[in-house]
């Protein structure tokens, strides 16, 4: 069994006639239910539900507070390599791009770790491009070992691995796996991933599940919104999250809603997601899966993020650099993977969270305990 079996059931599903059949009453029904099924979730993703955002927001806020309290967990991403063998047409690290390729040495990683942890950050997300040659297992394990000295929790966002490899990383101290399918639509998937190991749709689709089997405490999934028809894409993200949650009781599932920022990106997505739709998706997911984490990165600007605090976000990156070696060295920054639009420092993000009446949480988990 794979999540693919669930996906297949929707191969011939007519999303647009489903959306056309959604009534205001049907939307309202979903707001009072304790447990939402897949079709309730889809109802909340419908254009019709977009007319009821405020009502949905009230419920989403209540559920979020019920499950998470008024807290926002903080983490920082750390890019240690931008070598990549894939050609994803939407990404700055794409193999075909002529950019300055860098990979940090363990000493450099340590410098970055010092710089980040000195700002109070306790949860780190280790990122690489996707290149087994440039960043082999031994290197990754070394990097994790180094980061464990500086952070309470280490997560990874790297190329998909075999289950036994995830086990090694888990044993080395990795708590969380972040891995985005990017796009659930197979045809589009094939079109935007021109070359490299990433062309293997199924290998990627099952990777979060391999991570859950390997025993990671958190698995964070997502679709890069804009690549495929957005409502169905986010619908599948939600189903994927629930699939993992149902099957792996000891894994905490979280989602991200990364989207293209049209102003900052050379790539023009076919299905751009505007702010209102973005918020609708986030709210719908909160109702569908009240216990799940929702990670909001600095792809979203400060204005959006400050408002999302009240609507269901639970995890923010803060004081972010998305280029390799971006924290310790100030000159000579390499190309970022994506442009960040919330450039505030950790302190500024923390004070924004506090002034919104929420508590910023630096550390919500420590393996040592």
């Amino acid at each position: 069994m794979s999540f693919y079996n669930t996906l297949e059931q929707f191969d011939h599903f007519d999303f647009s006639s489903f959306f056309n059949s959604v009534s205001d009453d049907r939307v309202r029904d979903c707001l009072t239910k304790e447990y939402l099924n897949a079709y309730d979730f889809l109802t909340l993703l419908s254009p019709k539900a977009g007319n009821h955002l405020e009502m949905i927001a009230k419920v989403a806020q209540k559920k979020t507070i019920q499950y998470f309290g008024k807290t926002i967990q903080l983490f920082a991403p750390l890019y240690i390599s931008n070598y990549c063998t894939n050609k994803c047409i939407y990404c700055g690290f794409n193999h075909a791009n002529v950019i300055d390729r860098r990979k940090l040495t363990i000493e450099e990683i340590e410098k970055e770790a010092k710089a980040i942890s000195s700002r109070g950050i306790q949860h780190i997300l280790l990122l690489t491009g996707e290149s087994r040659q440039a960043t082999p297992m031994e290197y990754l394990l070394e990097a994790v070992k180094c980061l464990k000295h500086y952070f309470a929790s280490v997560s990874i966002e790297i190329f998909p691995l075999e289950c036994h490899e995830y086990v090694l990383l888990q044993q080395a101290g990795v708590d969380g796996l972040t891995l985005f399918q990017e796009v659930y639509d197979k045809v589009i998937y094939d079109k935007v991933h021109l070359a490299g190991k990433k062309k293997d749709y199924h290998y990627r689709l099952d990777a979060p599940e391999r991570g859950a089997m390997a025993g990671f405490r958190n698995v964070n999934i997502g679709a890069l919104l804009g690549l495929g028809e957005m409502r169905s894409e986010f619908f599948f993200t939600g189903l994927h999250a629930r699939y993992l949650d149902d099957k792996y009781l000891d894994t905490e599932v979280a989602v991200s809603l990364p989207r293209f920022n049209p102003a900052e990106c050379d790539f023009h997505p076919e299905f751009p997601v505007n702010d209102k739709t973005f918020v609708q998706f986030l709210l719908a997911f909160r109702l569908f899966f009240p216990r799940a984490g929702i990670t909001v990165s600095t792809r979203e600007n400060a204005y959006m993020r400050d408002h999302l605090i009240h609507l269901g976000a639970t995890r923010f990156s803060a004081g972010v650099s998305t280029s390799v070696g971006g924290y310790a060295q100030h000159q000579d920054q390499s190309t970022p993977q994506f442009e960040i639009t919330d450039g505030r420092s950790v302190e500024e993000v923390v004070s924004a969270i506090s002034s919104n009446g929420y508590q910023p949480v630096y550390k919500d988990w420590d393996r040592a305990i």
């Binding site: 955002l53 405020e54 927001a57 702010d275 209102k276 918020v279 408002h307 009240h310 919104n356 009446g357």
Partner: protein, 256 residues
């Protein structure tokens, strides 16, 4: 959030537990119970004298400073209730009146219709009217318009100790009433009183559960604590909600 007390007529009650004088093993317990519970309002009933035996004067057990709430128990029509109310006022019991009209001897359900009629007259007459009713939102609105000072919905039939059986209906009253909601009847345990206060009731009236406890004095104290706890919980929640309202009036307004 500070509790400013419950205002009924010209009187402010800082203690939100109202008590009753019925069913005590000995009336001598009443002043002590009032002391430990801190209750500031207590019900009394008016009856024809029993010529055969010496009747105890219940009023002598109620200290000054505790407001008397005569009830109209025994009345089966609005007219009878009105008469009892007037007699009570003439007899020096003050302006408060709990209208209790019961035509159903089996379940002792209040007769909402007669109660509304009595309320209309007595409110005009200058009484502080507290009608005891089966929770019914449209009726509550009518009582409000007729000048009721509060609505007293029952939690469960009188004396049953079954608690908040009418909870969802009472919740509607709390959400929509302009006047205070005082849960009366059916509350058998402090936890039920706390639950009523926690959901936003303005006060509870407890008689049987205190009067018939092994130790009514201690039970009065227990109820008082429960009412305070429930009220504090309600206010804590309300404070949280007001922060939200201040921070972001409509949650999605920022998208416009």
């Amino acid at each position: 959030m500070n509790d400013e007390g419950l205002r009924l007529g010209d009187t402010t009650f800082t203690n939100r537990l109202f008590t009753g004088t019925g069913k005590f093993a000995s009336n001598e317990i009443i002043p002590e119970m009032l002391e430990t519970s801190g209750s500031q309002m207590i019900t009394v009933a008016l009856r024809r004298i029993d010529m055969q035996s010496v009747t105890d004067n219940i009023l002598q057990y109620i200290p000054d400073g505790v407001t008397l709430l005569p009830n109209t128990s025994g009345a089966r029509t609005a007219e009878q209730a009105i008469r009892v109310a007037r007699i009570a006022r003439e007899a020096g019991c003050g302006k408060f009146i709990k209208i209790e009209v019961i035509t159903d001897a089996k379940y002792l359900m209040p007769d909402n219709h007669e109660t509304l009629r009595a309320t209309e007259t007595l409110a005009k007459d200058g009484f502080v009217v507290l009608p005891y009713v089966l929770p019914d939102l449209p009726l509550a609105k009518r009582l409000e318009n007729a000048g009721a000072a509060a609505i007293m919905p029952l939690g469960a039939p009188i004396g049953t100790n079954r608690g908040l059986e009418t909870k969802p209906l009472i919740a509607m009253l709390i959400e929509n009433s302009a006047v205070p909601v005082i849960v009366d009847a059916g509350i058998g345990f402090p936890s039920q009183a706390a639950a009523a206060m926690e959901m936003g009731a303005d006060a509870v009236l407890v008689n049987t559960a205190i009067a018939t406890a092994e130790d009514p004095v201690a039970m009065g104290h227990a109820f008082s604590l429960a009412v305070q706890a429930g009220r504090a919980a309600y206010l804590a929640e309300a404070a949280g909600q007001s922060v939200v309202a201040r921070a972001s009036s409509p949650l999605t307004g920022f998208l416009d």
